[in-house]
């Protein structure tokens, strides 16, 4: 069964159009595509990393030094470190989401559109690349 599947995929990978400029293997070597991937990963992992670090540090303080979260930020006021940390975290979650969306739309979308255009990704095509994965529009 697996041998048959392998043979099918071998045939798929050795189709003549695999050497066409539109094929993913050619596309993967494109400098703009490489830059796009690099930027996308940098933005996504930096922002996600900050979120994880901020939340994990809150968890660590909560577990090991819970009394620190009850410290008041100003005398005669009930605003505590924990309260401020959590409110900042909530606002931070929104900020992180909005920043990634803005970066993706402003910096990545033009680059993505350029690569799509160059490789005819926007033009209707037949039997190029793997079968369509889903119905729906394109994306930028």
């Amino acid at each position: 069964m697996q041998r048959e599947a392998l043979a099918r995929w071998r045939a798929y990978f050795t189709k003549p159009w695999r050497n066409d400029v539109n094929t993913p293997s050619k596309l993967r070597k494109d400098p703009d595509f490489i830059r796009l991937r690099r930027l996308q990963r940098r933005y996504a992992f930096s922002i996600a990393g900050c979120v994880v670090a901020f939340y994990a540090s809150l968890g660590l303080v909560m577990a090991c030094w819970p009394e620190a979260l009850g410290v008041r930020l100003a005398p005669e006021r009930s605003i505590t470190v924990g309260l401020a940390w959590n409110v900042l975290a909530l606002i931070g979650w929104f900020a992180a989401t909005a920043i990634y969306a803005a970066l993706s739309t402003r910096r990545l979308a033009p680059l993505r559109a350029r690569v799509r255009e160059r490789y005819g990704w926007n033009a209707p095509s037949e039997d190029v690349g793997p079968p369509p994965l889903a119905r729906g529009g394109d994306s930028s």
Binding site: Q2, A5, L6, W9, F13, P24, L27, R28, F33, L36, Q40, A44, F45, I47, A48, V51, V52, Y55, A56, G59, M62, A63, P66, E67, L69, G70, S78, I79, T80, G82, L83, N86, V87, A89, L90, W93, F94, A96, T97, A98, Y100, A101, S104, T105, A109, R112, V115, P124, S125, G129, P130, P132, L133, A134, R135, G136, G137, D138, S139, S140
Partner: protein, 517 residues
């Protein structure tokens, strides 16, 4: 709290509006694309509202205000932990999901790994986590109805189940989305109205409410420090890890990213949803402060044993009755019901998609089921799931709603998330690794949950739970990830090679979006 005419009138009004929505949506729902994904035609703003609607369940409205009322600061921890998954979902998954998937996240896994075992695993993970989440909502719904309308618990649960089957089977994803949007707007309006009336009633602003609440609460200044919500270090670490990883694997939330036309709208959805959830959480926190001040020392809300009538979950309802009479109480109760119904609809739809699309069409029929047969199978699945949810909801009467929700997060975090992240980001992942890792995660989470005090002692009535901690995520998630990595690294089979070459093949569509058809 005796049932009153205003409550019944508002409830019937919202119910009628929801039925109208379902009927309208049902006229547009014929194909499987319309049933599961609303034809991928939902806009970013609408989908954002619907995602927020999915997130803000009855547990949030009733449960979080209860935690704020009893433990103060812990309510804020719950809200922060509940929303932390959104930026991660946004940065790591939203666009890729939309670019590679069709109706469910299982499609994304199947795009890379063609093995049926992957579909079976992911569909089972979806079913288990959705059903656990469903139980929590049914339990909350039954309790709410029992207290507010005097309907006996089993009938209340059956009513929620019946309405859910009606909405989902008639209107599919479109009806579910519209109900979610309506509910999200109602929820924001209700919390704003409650907050404004609370501040007017008490004559205080948000900052002075904080001071008054700290003075009024029985825990005093400790009220603003961590309380008993997470009793030990291990529970805290487990909660943090499950919060980070769990949301990324919740099937009914992931399914929402397939209802939009493209990745740009998927991004917009996530931004609107996060903004909405954060705003609502902050408003709910301030309203929680007002509720503490308002209810402190009030003996009218206590029963003969000195406990709050209907448990602490009814704190927000008591506050609504005190400041707005039966009108506000009726409105808040109806909003809570709409909240619950909408979340249950989303869950039932996700579970029905797992049964009909992933298992029936994808595995049993090997993708050869006709569109009509698949939609019919979905509607049958919805009815079966509705019946199962009613039976389980009755069985789990009186269980802690927040805890049951956390169980769903744990299973999603242990089964769905590692598989999804590995399939999208790791070239070396193999189908065998995903399947074994997933089943280990499933077994570990389910067995440890069954051995934990809440199930062992609470639900089964046994003594001395073998697993002493509340949340097993700290054990089950790393176990699943470890098995996934080790098996994938060791796998040199032709299937593994295919999976790796398929990763290269899917790289371009996952980054660039789909080719024009």
């Amino acid at each position: 709290m005796a049932p009153n005419l205003t409550s019944i009138f508002t409830f019937v009004l919202i119910l009628g509006a929801s039925l109208l929505i379902a009927w309208q949506a049902g006229r547009r729902t014929r194909s499987s694309s319309e049933f599961y994904a609303a034809s991928h035609s939902v806009g970013g703003f609408s989908n954002g509202l619907a995602i927020a609607g999915d997130h803000l369940s009855a547990g949030t409205l009733l449960g979080v205000t209860a935690v704020i009322y009893t433990d103060g600061y812990d309510g804020l921890i719950y809200m922060t932990g509940g929303a932390v998954g959104y930026p991660l979902l946004m940065c790591l998954l939203a666009e890729r999901l939309r670019n590679l998937g069709n109706y469910t996240f299982v499609d994304v896994l199947s795009a890379r790994f063609r093995q049926a075992s992957i579909r079976v695993l992911a569909a089972t993970g979806t079913l288990v986590s959705a059903v656990l989440y469903l139980i929590s909502q049914m339990a909350a719904g039954g309790a709410l109805f029992e207290v507010l309308f005097g309907i006996p618990y089993p009938y209340a649960v059956a009513l929620v189940g019946g309405l859910t089957v009606l909405y989902v089977s008639v209107g599919g994803m479109l009806a579910t989305t519209w109900v979610q949007m309506t509910k999200a707007v109602l929820l924001m309006f209700s919390i704003l109205a409650l907050l404004a009336l609370l501040m007017l009633h008490l004559g205080e602003g948000p900052l002075s409410l904080l001071e008054s609440a700290a003075r009024a609460h029985q825990r005093g200044q400790d009220w603003l420090s961590p309380g008993q919500f997470l009793p030990d270090k291990l529970s805290i670490f487990s909660f943090v890890l499950t919060g980070l990883v769990g949301m990324v694997g919740l099937p009914h939330l992931l399914m929402r990213f397939f209802t939009v036309p493209d990745a740009r709208q998927a991004r917009r959805s996530a931004v609107y949803a996060t903004g909405y959830i954060v705003t609502f959480s902050l408003l709910l926190w301030i309203a929680g402060l007002g509720i503490v001040v308002l209810l402190a020392g009030n003996t009218d809300i206590l029963n003969d044993q000195g406990e709050m009538i209907g448990s602490a979950n009814m704190a927000i309802m008591h506050a609504a009755r005190i400041i707005g009479g039966n009108v506000l109480l009726g409105f808040m109760a109806s909003v809570a019901f709409a909240t619950l119904l909408a979340v249950v609809c989303g869950l039932v739809l996700a579970a029905a998609a797992a049964l009909a699309h992933d298992l029936y069409s994808g595995v049993f029929k090997r993708g050869r089921a006709s569109d009509r047969a698949e939609v019919r199978a979905s509607r049958i699945s919805v009815a079966a799931l509705g019946a199962a949810a009613v039976a389980l909801g009755i069985q789990f009467q009186g269980q802690n709603v927040a805890y049951l929700t956390a169980l769903a997060f744990t299973v999603a975090a242990s089964v769905n998330t590692p598989a999804l992240v590995a399939a999208l980001f790791w070239r070396g992942a193999s189908a065998r690794g995903l399947v074994l890792g997933g089943w280990v995660g499933m077994a570990a989470s389910v067995v440890l949950l069954a051995l934990s005090p809440a199930v062992w002692e609470g639900a089964l009535g046994l003594e001395n739970a073998p697993f002493p901690w509340i949340y097993p995520g700290l054990f089950s998630i790393p176990a699943a990830a470890l098995v996934l990595v080790v098996v994938s690294l060791a796998d040199r089979s032709p299937g593994a090679m295919l999976g790796r070459s398929r990763y290269d093949e899917l790289l371009a569509p996952s980054v660039l979006g789909r080719r024009a058809a």
